[in-house]
Symmetry: D2
Subunit: 356 residues, 4 copies
Amino acid sequence: MNKIPVGVLGATGTVGQRFVQLLAGHPWFEVVAVTGSDRTVGRPYGEGVNWLMPGRVPARAAELIVQPTAPNLDIPGDPPVVFSALPTGEAKEWEPQFAAAGYAVVTNTSVFRMTPNVPLLIPEVNPDHTCLIPTQRAENNWPGFIVASPNCSTTSAILPLKVFQQAFGVTAAIITTMQAISGAGYPGVSSMDIYDNVVPHIGGEDEKLQNEPKKLLGDVRDGRMILADIAVSAQANRVPVIDGHLASVSVKLARPASADEAIAALRDWQPPAICAQLPSTPKELLIYRDEPDRPQPRRDRDAGDGLAWSVGKVRACPVLDVRYLALTHNTLRGAASGALLNAELLAVQGILGNRD
Amino acid sequence: MNKIPVGVLGATGTVGQRFVQLLAGHPWFEVVAVTGSDRTVGRPYGEGVNWLMPGRVPARAAELIVQPTAPNLDIPGDPPVVFSALPTGEAKEWEPQFAAAGYAVVTNTSVFRMTPNVPLLIPEVNPDHTCLIPTQRAENNWPGFIVASPNCSTTSAILPLKVFQQAFGVTAAIITTMQAISGAGYPGVSSMDIYDNVVPHIGGEDEKLQNEPKKLLGDVRDGRMILADIAVSAQANRVPVIDGHLASVSVKLARPASADEAIAALRDWQPPAICAQLPSTPKELLIYRDEPDRPQPRRDRDAGDGLAWSVGKVRACPVLDVRYLALTHNTLRGAASGALLNAELLAVQGILGNRD
Amino acid sequence: MNKIPVGVLGATGTVGQRFVQLLAGHPWFEVVAVTGSDRTVGRPYGEGVNWLMPGRVPARAAELIVQPTAPNLDIPGDPPVVFSALPTGEAKEWEPQFAAAGYAVVTNTSVFRMTPNVPLLIPEVNPDHTCLIPTQRAENNWPGFIVASPNCSTTSAILPLKVFQQAFGVTAAIITTMQAISGAGYPGVSSMDIYDNVVPHIGGEDEKLQNEPKKLLGDVRDGRMILADIAVSAQANRVPVIDGHLASVSVKLARPASADEAIAALRDWQPPAICAQLPSTPKELLIYRDEPDRPQPRRDRDAGDGLAWSVGKVRACPVLDVRYLALTHNTLRGAASGALLNAELLAVQGILGNRD
Amino acid sequence: MNKIPVGVLGATGTVGQRFVQLLAGHPWFEVVAVTGSDRTVGRPYGEGVNWLMPGRVPARAAELIVQPTAPNLDIPGDPPVVFSALPTGEAKEWEPQFAAAGYAVVTNTSVFRMTPNVPLLIPEVNPDHTCLIPTQRAENNWPGFIVASPNCSTTSAILPLKVFQQAFGVTAAIITTMQAISGAGYPGVSSMDIYDNVVPHIGGEDEKLQNEPKKLLGDVRDGRMILADIAVSAQANRVPVIDGHLASVSVKLARPASADEAIAALRDWQPPAICAQLPSTPKELLIYRDEPDRPQPRRDRDAGDGLAWSVGKVRACPVLDVRYLALTHNTLRGAASGALLNAELLAVQGILGNRD
């Protein structure tokens, strides 16, 4: 089997670097094009990038010449595939143009997440939402398409919500997050702001946390997105942690359940069958920790190569029904690796063309 | 006016040291006796203590000989007054014995907080609860008594709850805290546990957060404690911050109110009149911050000499009614300074005897 | 006695803010003019500044209208006095123009520190170097003048060196510093660079550490600066500490001395007599700590209101002669407060005109 | 080839856990016995241990029953091999008894490091020092023997010193370290001591740093250890970093060399040939970084799977001859992995018996 050639848009930023790093060892995909800012265009990626990932720039990517972001990249494939790690403003401008030019755009950006015909995807949560793609193509008259992955904080909290939705129904959730500094990119958060401190505000994050779960837990019927009818209240906080977003969540269930039933639902959960076919899927996707003091960012963020949810402290909530804690690695599961899994899903679903 | 002589029980621990430090400059009280562990008994306090406060051991306290904890301290006064910073086990053993021996015990420990006839006091919240003291004396047949201050995390969250209770009534609250490491004393939290990490568990803290507000916001009728009928759900987290507990709270109101009305209630709040007579009361007790990213532990914990509540981000809660953030300094307002204010309150109410 | 009116150049940056904060309570000086960037010019200081100091903007300063930086400020006095917290480029441009226009420029910037006729001043180290001022005025044909304070890392290390120079002579020093993040201003160091990390590089800092001690410990003879003949080797490191620069120093002495003799020299040191006349001088200027694990940034930086040197661990060096550790608060002693002390020195020496 | 069965003494502590974790995937060794404290003896290792390493207890080790530490472990082999991660007091008591009972003791403890007939080993530095083993056996009349690995801080600094010794000769070194908190084990350093702070004291560390290099860089002649004639001055500091010890070193050379010559010596260095036969040896052992701000603990500690030295900022020292920075991972290269490499070395040298 040949690898699927892909491009990375915005490859010199931190999420773009993570894409390049992860793709270097990927069994299915191979980076053949990278785009970047004016400062880096025309230079070999290995020279233009201020590499912040561990180790060195992967050898093959290092030699790629950085191109301007525009839908004329020479990427074989039908459709040609690009991962987008563009800044918000550029994503807004370019992602539709790539889709209009026939590219499959697998994006980590926030711009089109809530657009009704753009699938907001987590393979473990809503793999069937890719059926919005025909709608998207038709409504926009695009040969290509865009699929989005959710915000890193939404991702942390979502899997147990999905499990409880399936098992009991969910009508409301109150979420308080403790989020890592890497979520703000580089240079991101000033050390003078976050050291020995908590910053109880991340621009736009509360809104994302309040909206995205409704789409992720919603249904697609007749090619239309139906949002889930769940009230969500969110407070996002930045804490002095490098990686790993922790969410503390209280949930109102449609059918009351005890903490033990909720724990059993988590333990019994099976991912959608298609997840087993995705090469990045870790052995254990949802790790329930019995210890009273887990999950913890530093100790659990790397579980399942940074792709597992670590969940703990499920207990009765004296106000709603159950409380829980959930944690994921924000720059892996919550960003680049999550988008990569989405591309694997699209490949298995045959949406990226024929791989052999 | 002469100063009121006081003793400090457990004076060599971190809370005990804080008492000694704060009392060194206090206009009304003066430390004349300190008790400590076997290791330190018989030595001058200045030699026996492993001083962790800023600066040096106050000169007069340094020369006091550490005594064993027992209700035979030579402290003039009727009643003689002691501040208790004893470890839990010792508090349980000794505090009743001191009360039985006629001492006024102003404690920072948790043992008797929920005992119905022990006032759980914050002067700004429930100064009238001292009227439980006669009941306590009668029921125990004690010449002395115990008054307690609440847990440091309860303290952070409580003042806005009180304000909302007065203005709108409160029926439920969901609290998530981010608490400083100093709350665990010394050596307390291992750096290997908390650095680059959050520990989502503090032993017994969730329960304290769920119970103490009911008493603080309750009523005393006919000398009996009537707990407030408020459901509270709590998740306490330890974060890598030196001082300052931050609480994120969603509240269900008895009478719905908008965020603007809630903010107005906070801004309009006036402390009980008696607070103006307490020498430690800061100019501003409740500081409402308009900035979207406040309060923050490092930047707000020292407001009002560590005695003010900094409150912010009051907004509508899509699930309950309103959300807010509140912060106090955990070792000052939430521990030693809070207990000291309680003693000032008792003095003004004439419960510590005649001061002139 | 009336206060001396002063201006603050670059008042909206972090050092400028510190000047404004410290001057608000100063017994001798009073801010009457502030300058700032284009963005803030014309607005009241209290509105234009992004205040990062504790508490609120001092009331009187808050109402001053921010002016452009130019030597036409209306500051009474002969000479009119300005404190400079300008960025390097602007300092280079404007400080000479202010001196040429007759202002006394007390600067915290690095531009002219090593200029031979500009006094590089620490009152406790070389108060007599102000005698370079007539030379400076004559050589530049300036009615005004510039005096500079040293780099914050130099300041940390220098006082014990001075003491040893007086007692034994010093011929060489090897310095390794561990410097706080506040030294880089705001936003300064990215949290992604410094959290769980050490950055062993601060641009230009090694050179400053290697050059400035030669001037501070040098002599002025016949109005000429004679640098001290001391070889200095430096390695500056940024560590995850908010405030407080710690220097680890090995010293080669001209006349060998034991560790005990070195400690005795530190303990016996008396500051220059004039220091007693400066209102900011703390009670204890050089605090020798016997504990094997002191000085420490968090525990010692605030000694003497952030103006004292904390020194410890003096011992024999198996390679040179003696080793020591020294610590000062980098944004107080090492920056704004240090410059303020310099102004107090100039005032006492009569160089700022008649104060009554 | 069959694996060599080994025991781990003190397997429940942090270094012991690291041994168990690393040995789980080792191509040559296999853990067949673990010893622990009274609390854990008799229980399966997986239950008795408070596992602090990432992931879970390796499956096979988890089932081993924890035994008391005593030289009657059933470990096949001639000699039977044990890794020692015992606390200092127990190491002093037990390691000689194991050697006397015929075991090969590969220790990470400090007790016998400076004992003349005990090899203090780093394969890249002094692999030939194992020739002290016959002397050790003869002088003690032991069938077994002890080999030690140096202190983690010594390890950080040593490789460039070795390179310079070979190239130019070294007569003196002044070392200042910035050491990670994991070096103190668990619970180790209190967060209240190290957060927002530097602790400039680690008990006994300065002495180890001053002594161990003399042995590592010394010669064995006629079966006798001849210490290198190098004066070393050291100041060890604890900084708020999880893993990775950084050393800042100034060196006096026997034959003067420029910084460029020193850099060339580092770049040209070839490890002893035997290193290529050790399975844990990483591809690159000494990584010279050109960037002015490297090495950094968080970004470089994992180089070469935590076994590489990252070196940088070699430059002329104005006082001695050259300065450099060096960094290694303290719990891998500086502890468990280092000892494991020593065992690999012994295996290749045929000292652990026949492996096939």
